[in-house]
Subunit: 447 residues, 2 copies
């Protein structure tokens, strides 16, 4: 949450072409007969390849009461199959000098390996194998559940900021599963069993629910031949459920919460607003919101930073965040960390005053132009990281966007006007859809 | 919510036996071979009978995204069967000079008819018929969905207090379905279809998920014979799901919300705390919480009323509410309606000050004795209302309590000590599990 400032601050503003080109030409996509989507991104600068398989199933697709099963299954996917011993896939990757891992989010679960380019076939063989042939024992469940619970202990229970974030999300969403943590509620993770894991696996792990993204030193035709050989042999799941989730009812009440914890080192104010996401063929509003987040709190020259850190010296950190890459309504977030001696009440009042002033003053066109320039620059730098591009495609396709949407996104960002940004701000920054949280030390007064 | 004060204020305090007796002897219970529970309450003072069938399925048992289906099905149950025309059951009841209706809550759905005692067999025949032979058409769905949506318009959309309550509940529960309104979110009700209705019906409407409560001028043996004849002929549903719901994770953050509506005539402060419910064989804590609610805000002599209405003249109404009759964790609630010129901020501060003082001072033994006396008195008055007793049994059995638990409840209430009440208060009245809501007029300032 606190890292973007370093990222943007490091950029040097310079003259750049309107839109970085080239990489889109290196992107090929097709669909196998069984419904599996494939994206190939060529990059011949080094003899390495990355394979990613993205399943369009994340924690928000879990059955009620079984939170954490998507992430738990991600762990279990490193157990054995009929022909692979437990841990063999990762061991093989490592023995070949590569790296592999996996991650789970609300909307998708992804597995990847990065290896020498001539090992791609082996990786496909193994990844396709565990898509359908996973073999789990009661012992696997017991062992890995403890691993996951320990992960939750480390990441959440021992981290007041993470606990605070969980409570914020739970209050933000009335009906949607984004209100439940990806790693799962502890009491539900403790009860996850083999049936839960197999049921989720059999429902969602199928080629017609997966996206293969191969990037690096590869030829699209060869990737297609290999994909057809290994993934194409797996039948589609005819019972794949339609991806329809419980949506939010109208949110009509400004909400607040106070989270206290003796381990809090630095109290701060968090504010989130329910916000629309990027939709296929309709990404303009999300683009406006993204630029709004950059204008308000995207870096050292942003509106909030300028006001609260430099001018009024009330805050040591300010940030605004929006990522529209989700299947359903997401959030637009602010964080204000007050300077020593400034209360959370004062920090929040300063945030609200600044937002009200911004709404009245409107967008500073010069700042918007600078941000657009930075985005063009960032895009060129991003070309150095083909794995990052691969992730961008995988993530976008996992939430139903198309390759065309991904390709169009940079141009859409460049074409957003100040008026569109203000319209999006007026739509989203409404008290009724907001949650304000105070992270405090135990015993600290709220006034 | 505002009616209890009138109820209790009307009671005359007088000498009464420790526990009203007699009615429990009139209660017979047994279970049919197919698992249907039956309770018979004899009352021969008038030649009338009430039949109630309670299904252990309410809105909190609904599938995700299909909120309102329990209540929608309740409406649809008045359509036809193979042998009954739509509306025939109610028409038959009316033609016989009786009354019938139904109601849906989070935990159960109940149907009842009140008729002359000699019509019981006819009622059973018809009620048993619609338990399994309901016939629904697409037209029924369309018509009745509009009726239900209009009901939601009337009861909720046009009622700021109801909308406020919905938002409070949604914030109170992070994970449990009690956070979703019984009538359903409007956008989900609009999408309910025939499949949703039939699926819920076939899953839950079965004798092994139902409780028959017959009260009035009946003989238990005759009721048993009739019940066996009509309900006993229906096979149990072998696939009845276990009644396990998603439970709350630890609630760790005091929450607040502000709900604004131009239609608000009287702003007020609402405060709720997550609280345990009555459990089979373990009702003591719930009894302590019930007495706590009576002590704090149960009537004109209660602690909050005395302080905020009479002494400090800050409020025109104060109330404390707790009903532990639910399957899962419920809420302990306060309402403070400030006097003209007193802000919600002042009203809330006065509530918190009063609660803090109460926690320090402890229970006034004399007040507790008076409340227990009133409960004994109310119990005697309640004997006049055998239908009320029938409802009490149906409600309790629907959430898994036993006939013994219902019989024991009055004695448990009488035996609760001041220490138990204070222990329950300390356990429940914690900021981390609370939601504070302000219902305000549009444009009114929060400070």
């Amino acid at each position: 949450m606190f890292s973007r400032i370093a990222l943007i601050a490091g950029l040097v503003v310079m003259a750049l072409p309107a839109v970085a080109t080239g990489i889109d030409d290196a992107v090929t996509d097709f669909t196998l007969d069984n419904g599996m989507q494939v994206v190939v991104i060529e990059d011949h600068r080094a003899p390495v390849v990355q394979q990613m398989v993205w399943y369009k199933a994340g924690s928000a697709d879990e059955p009620r009461g079984a939170s954490g099963i998507a992430h738990f299954l991600e762990h279990l996917m490193f157990k054995g199959t009929d022909t692979m011993a437990p841990g063999e896939l990762s061991a093989t990757v490592a023995a070949n000098g590569g790296q592999d891992n996996a991650f789970t989010t609300y909307d998708y679960t992804a597995y990847y390996q990065r290896v020498a380019a001539d090992r791609l076939e082996l990786m496909m063989k193994m990844e396709a194998d565990r898509m359908v042939n996973l073999r789990l024992t009661e012992k696997d469940i017991e062992t890995e559940r403890n691993v996951v619970l320990e992960e939750r202990n480390q990441r959440t229970e021992n981290n007041p900021r993470a606990l605070f974030r969980e409570q914020m999300n739970a209050v933000q969403y009335y009906n949607h599963r984004y209100g439940v943590p990806v790693i799962g509620w502890k009491h539900e993770v403790e009860a996850l069993d083999l049936d839960d894991a197999l049921s989720f696996y059999r429902t969602y792990y199928a080629p017609n629910d997966a996206i293969l993204v191969v990037s690096g030193d590869v030829d699209p035709q060869e990737v297609r031949a290999l994909a057809e050989k290994y993934y194409g042999a797996i039948p589609a799941n005819p019972d794949l459920p339609e991806r329809v989730r419980a949506q939010e009812p109208p949110q009509r009440a400004a909400r607040r919460l106070v989270f206290r914890d003796p381990r809090v080192a630095q109290p701060y104010v968090s504010r989130s607003y329910l916000a629309p996401e990027r939709d296929p063929g309709a990404q303009e509003k999300a683009a406006a919101l993204y630029l709004l987040s950059e204008l308000l709190g995207g870096g050292s020259t942003s509106y909030l930073t300028d006001r609260l850190q430099f001018r009024d010296k009330l805050a040591v950190y300010t940030g605004a965040f929006y990522s529209g890459t989700s299947l359903d309504d997401t959030t637009f977030d602010f964080v204000i960390v007050p300077r020593e001696g400034v209360s959370l009440q004062e920090a929040e009042a300063a945030l609200d005053k600044a937002l009200a002033d911004f709404m009245r003053e409107g967008v500073d066109q010069e700042m918007l132009d600078r941000i657009k320039l930075q985005l063009r620059a960032a895009r060129i730098y991003a070309l150095d990281n083909v794995d990052g591009i691969a992730s961008r495609y995988g993530r976008a396709l996992s939430i139903g966007l198309t390759v065309e949407d991904v390709k169009a996104w940079p141009e859409i960002l460049q074409s957003v006007t100040a008026e569109q940004i203000m319209a999006a701000a007026r739509e989203v920054l409404r008290p009724e859809v907001s949650v304000t949280g105070w992270l405090m030390r135990d015993g600290e007064m709220t006034q």
